[in-house]
């Protein structure tokens, strides 16, 4: 493990690059999927199409998606290519969560908001979106984790991030370097996940412990 001790600066710098790239993709994916998920929820006729399209985007293997994106004028060996690909996957996961989240809002709460005179815009921001928070947060956490681990594939198209430790370690036959990369990715994924969970608790105090609605047995007992 002396390799790690000698290269702390490198690992730290790559971690910062990695976090920056992941954060851009996660935030961009979130911002794009809220209106998309809302469209799919609001207009039932669009729902099938929107959810099918995002589902198909998710099935495209990352390494192949990089090449397909070049058809839209994005340079193959570039950070932009990685960011766009990661954003596409984030949208693919989040859109469905937003739709499911909006569908999970108690229609009574929505009717009450209409009854006291909330307009569509205000109702969305102050009633629908906060109440769909737990489901949306569950999707956001999945998105964050998978984005952080997927970003390492960027090393294959020459992007600097923790994935560099895999390609460089492989070429130089330094097991410690590759291992350090895997551990670093898992650690930052877990830290980001915990931070999102804490943010969820702070922003949605009414959810308390059950931040994720649980399917199956528990619900069945009450049914």
């Amino acid at each position: 493990m002396s390799w790690v001790a000698d290269n702390v600066d490198l690992i730290w710098a790559l971690t910062l690059d990695h976090l920056r790239q992941s954060a851009i993709a996660i935030i961009a994916g979130f911002v794009l999927s809220v209106p998309l998920g809302w469209l799919a929820f609001r207009y039932t006729r669009l729902r099938g199409t929107v959810l099918t399209v995002v589902g198909l985007l998710y099935t495209i293997p990352s390494f192949a998606l990089f090449a397909v994106l070049t058809l839209f004028g994005i340079p193959f060996l570039s950070e932009l290519n990685l960011l766009v690909a990661l954003t596409i996957y984030a949208v693919a996961i989040m859109t469905r969560s937003v739709t499911d989240g909006l569908a999970s809002v108690d229609p009574g709460a929505r009717s009450a908001a209409i009854a006291v005179g909330f307009g569509a815009w205000r109702r969305f921001w102050t009633v629908d979106l906060p109440l769909s928070g737990p489901v949306v947060l569950a999707g956001l956490r999945v998105t964050a984790m998978s984005t952080i681990s997927l970003a390492t594939v960027g090393a294959l198209i020459g992007v600097q991030n923790l994935g560099y430790l895999f390609t460089n370690g492989s070429q130089r036959r330094i097991i410690a370097e590759v291992f350090a990369g895997v551990v670093a990715v898992v650690i930052i994924a877990v830290i980001v996940d915990v931070l999102l969970m804490l943010a969820g608790r702070a922003l949605m105090p009414w959810t308390r412990r059950t931040s994720t609605p649980r399917p199956g047995r528990l619900r069945a007992v009450t049914a």
Binding site: A103, A138, S170
Partner: protein, 241 residues
Amino acid sequence: MNLLAEAFAWIFSPARLTGTLPLPTAIAQHLAFTFGSVAIAAVIAIPIGWLIGHTGRGREIAVFLSGAARALPALGLVVLLVMLFGVNLKTEAAVTVFVVLAIPSILAGAYAGIESIDRSVIDAGRAMGMTEWQILFRIEMPLGLSLLIGGLRSATLQVVATVTIAAYVGLGGLGFYIIQGINLRDFAEILGASIIVVVLALVLDGLYALLARFAVPRTDGPRTRARVASSPLTRVPQFSR
């Protein structure tokens, strides 16, 4: 559009049938790795998943495992295991990674399938005097099939994507051309191979959709369907690639 034309020219060139790695061989390798790994993972994960679903015990561990698996970087694991196993055993090393990455989706599909069943159906079976095995084989397995197929589907797509990346360690498969294309700066080859990978993934996805439609017993109960549909854990695509 020129790029696209060159990519298709690469795909349909007669040279694809000869050379170091003929295209049909690469596709066969890719499929063999995918289905071999998913089959091994299924043999391990399905019984455990059913056990968890049937008994309701160990669910927390399964949820934790599928969460943790999402954070594992596939490229790093492949490189790491190939180095640990040694280059002579790189196929075994890579297959181990594919299996590890495929297990959580299948496990989740198996137990979530059983969990999604309306409890009153299972209680009815028990009230009629069915044994635990009969409940498992006649009620839980068929009714949980659609989510299990969903789990197999995401595991398969995950492995297809990972096999592509694993070409980096010299495993063959369709990713071979992408890596070769990057080294040779041959963009037609990169794009051509990528198009085949995308088509392969979409075709497999479509086959699973068909399988789900025909293999799953018809249930009149909209309640079961509705409950499955509203569960975010089962709707979110479960893993990264």
